[in-house]
């Protein structure tokens, strides 16, 4: 038996998405063509865009489909930066939280290295949210130099929701982008209401297919594209529209939003049950994830005296899938930058796991996981002690 507890990495595709995908993939046509096949595909894509816009709370023309959340984030970071310096060369500062996903941090670092951008990271408080006072001071002192503020809607390792509406208020005229790939479909999310300039959402996090995502971008704003070509998507993202994936994305999002409240309650209950049982099974564990306001299913815990790669290997051998931090390009596990930003020591960050529960999980699965956990932690500890002696 395998138990999937890595829903924040990618979620199982839902039935609505599968049937939309399989139907659409049979259809011939390029949405940019003028002939009847092209028109038919164009209609499917635009219907999907329309549906998705209702679910996101934006105008259909504000949706720019991309190939991944990473691409949408790159488009936002680089596009806003290039726009800012084109209008005023002094606006070289990009502000993000310290615990953004690498798909935000790395494009910023690239701009620092190659295009003289300046990166400023907003520190994280002990409760897993950005330090708004820091941001206020920063804007008061250097607001005129800031090209873009990008803060994730919820953190993918801690689950904590971020005060985006506050950020928008503090930011004034400075563009604000939010990476909402973990939030959309799981917690209340409405683009217009939130007021950000741009947001990133991704299909495979909400039960849709891999390989499609979107940058939601306020009308009237033209970002400098990364991909040039056929001029699709407001000339901001060229490339033949991936109609099957887009149609499936909308279907998945519809299903996720329709079931959002019920799923949230179910997943939150499973999470709370899991944490309460895990605390009994492993009394010295430390919970790092945030309980509220937070995503429903994220659990992050430190198991003192272990190494996360040993825990993952042992859980995997028991058929349980979880995750930890990230790996470098060689695949070597590295302590999570999110936990380090939270002020957790490198050793404790190295001994931490993220378990992300989804609506397809059951209480029986959680019970099974709790059953094997003590022996997993015990073996990981003995491997660590042995290693330490060398």
């Amino acid at each position: 038996m395998t138990i999937y507890l890595d829903h924040a990495a990618t979620a199982p595709i839902n039935d609505a998405a599968i049937s939309a995908l399989t139907e659409q993939v049979k259809k011939l046509g390029n949405a940019s063509s003028v002939h009847n096949q092209g028109r038919a595909i164009r209609k499917d894509v635009e219907d999907a865009r329309h549906l998705l816009s209702e679910l996101v709370g934006c105008n259909p023309s504000e949706i720019i489909f991309t190939g991944s959340g990473t691409e949408a984030n790159n488009l936002a970071i680089k596009g806003f930066y290039w726009n800012a310096i084109a209008s005023n060369p002094k606006r070289k500062v990009i502000v993000t939280s310290a615990f953004e996903h690498h798909a935000i941090l790395d494009p910023v670092e690239w701009l620092v290295e190659h295009e003289a951008a300046e990166q400023i990271l907003i520190p994280i408080t002990k409760v897993g949210v950005i330090d708004l006072d820091f941001l206020k001071d920063l804007i008061a002192n250097r607001g005129a130099e800031i090209a873009l503020i990008s803060v994730m809607h919820s953190n993918n390792e801690l689950g904590s929701l971020q005060p985006i509406a506050e950020v928008v208020k503090i930011a004034g005229d400075i563009p604000v982008h939010t990476d909402a790939v973990q939030s959309f479909g799981k917690v209340d999310f409405d683009f217009k209401q939130l007021g950000t300039t741009a947001a990133t959402i991704s299909a495979h996090k909400v039960g849709g297919p891999l390989g499609v995502a979107a940058l939601i971008l306020q009308r009237g704003l033209d970002l400098t594209p990364i991909l040039h070509g056929g001029g699709q998507e407001r000339e901001i993202r060229s490339g033949t529209l991936n109609a099957p994936a887009i149609v499936s994305f909308a279907a998945a999002a519809k299903s996720a939003i329709e079931n959002r409240v019920a799923n949230f309650k179910k997943v939150r209950e499973l999470r709370d049950y899991f944490i309460s049982q895990l605390k009994i099974a492993i009394p010295d564990l430390v919970i790092n994830s945030v309980s509220d306001p937070a995503l429903p299913g994220i659990v992050n815990a430190t198991f003192p005296g272990t190494e996360s790669d040993a825990l993952l290997l042992l859980l995997d051998s028991e058929g349980i899938s979880a995750s930890a931090g990230s790996a470098c390009s060689a695949g070597v596990p590295r302590p999570s930058h999110v936990l380090l930003a939270l002020g957790i020591s490198e050793a404790d960050a190295d001994a931490s796991l993220r378990i992300s529960i989804g609506s397809t999980n059951t209480k029986e699965e959680i019970d099974q996981v709790i059953k094997v956990f003590p022996s997993v932690v015990e073996r990981a500890r003995s491997a660590f002690v042995v290693n330490g002696l060398n």
Binding site: L312, A330, V332, A380
Partner: protein
């Protein structure tokens, strides 16, 4: 059994892992990240320390159908192997880092971690044979004399050997390549790795100079007469003839060889070929790969001092602290720091580090 397969990304370790699966073991593949700053791609014929190699290992594990993980052993490797390599050279000795890696990493750090995690042992693609017989679980040379790697494994003690599995020991390399192809392992034609894995350029002397400095010193003859200069004594090897850059001809025009390296005075001593002759070897810190021979007793066997050196007929004794070997025929050119491995026929008896030669 539950076994960890150490997978370098090469053909041997991939086939070894696949054979262990066929034999009914529960196998988990592990690639050791030994460099904290790995190169992206292989250059030349090096085969285990690049990101490309780790991808090859992962791909092989996926084809075999076993779980695969990367273990970060960069710190252990640096402390146990690279540092030792440098300090040995700095002391004028010639170390073999592959021996150290087997002793300190593959069958120590990795084996210990595997055991802690509940595994029974470690599989590698080394060419050597483990056999259970009246002597216990002991190691023999590989079937393929061209690939035999028992020399670099002779640093493993009985406890380490108890957890060591070498599924390729009974097979010739060419057969392993054919088998890899048949199994759909696309590393089947990957070239063998050579040289020292952590010296990516292959330029050992340059690598040492970068780390130990390149202080100019004297090249002298056995009487102490200066014949020339060098850039760092440790970049020379006992028995080396080429690259000395000497312009003063020897008496009779016979070639000169490196006889001795004196790190304290940064001096390289050269002389005639005959002066390289060694008949007696003292090795220290003996490691026994099976039953410990009785002390103060003379045995007949073979000594080998290089990974692909010839087995040399010899008599040996030991006193627990050191092994004394008397060769039947002289050996030309032996440096302190080299591994001395004792064989009884094809069985590996044990090893020691060359400390003195006569």
């Amino acid at each position: 059994m539950k076994l960890i397969a150490a997978m370098s990304g090469g053909v041997d370790s991939a086939v070894a892992a696949a054979r262990a699966v066929d034999a009914g073991h529960e196998v988990v593949g592990v690639h050791l990240a030994l460099s904290s700053n790995p190169q992206k791609y292989r250059s030349g014929a090096r085969g285990c320390c690049t990101i490309e190699d780790s991808h090859d290992a992962r791909r092989a594990a996926d084809v075999i159908g076993i779980p695969f993980y990367i273990w970060d052993m960069a710190e252990e490797f640096h402390d146990g192997v690279v540092e030792n390599f440098l300090s040995e050279y700095a002391s004028g000795r010639t170390p073999n880092p592959c021996l150290r890696c087997n002793e300190k990493i593959k069958f120590a750090a990795v084996l210990d971690r595997a055991k802690g995690l509940g595994f029974d042992g470690v599989i590698t693609g080394h060419y050597a044979q483990m056999r259970e017989n009246e002597l216990g679980r002991v190691m023999y040379r590989a079937q393929d004399p061209g690939k035999d790697q028992s020399y670099v494994l002779a640093v493993l003690n009985s406890d380490q050997l108890a957890g060591a599995h070498f599924p390729l020991g009974d097979t010739f390399k060419e057969e392993v390549r054919k088998e890899a192809k048949k199994r759909g392992l696309y590393v089947a034609n990957k070239p063998d790795s050579h040289d020292i894995c952590f010296v990516p350029s292959g330029d050992n002397a340059g690598w040492l100079r970068d780390r130990l400095g390149s202080e100019i010193g004297e090249i002298v003859d056995e009487a102490g007469n200066k014949l020339g200069e060098h850039k760092g004594a440790y970049t020379y090897t006992i028995g080396q003839r080429r690259g000395l850059g000497l312009t003063v001809p020897a008496d009779g025009g016979s070639p000169r060889y490196v006889l001795k390296i004196e790190p304290k005075t940064n001096t390289v001593v050269v002389g005639a070929h005959e002066a390289l002759a060694v008949k007696k070897i003292v090795g220290e810190k003996p490691i026994w790969c099976g039953p410990v021979p009785a002390t103060q007793t003379q045995y007949r066997g073979f000594a080998q001092v290089r990974a692909h050196g010839a087995p040399l007929a010899a008599s040996y004794t030991h006193d627990g602290e050191s092994i004394r070997v008397e060769l039947d025929e002289p050996l030309f050119g032996l440096a302190t720091g080299q591994g001395l491995v004792i064989y009884d026929g094809d069985r590996v008896v044990g090893s020691a580090t060359v400390a003195q030669t006569e």
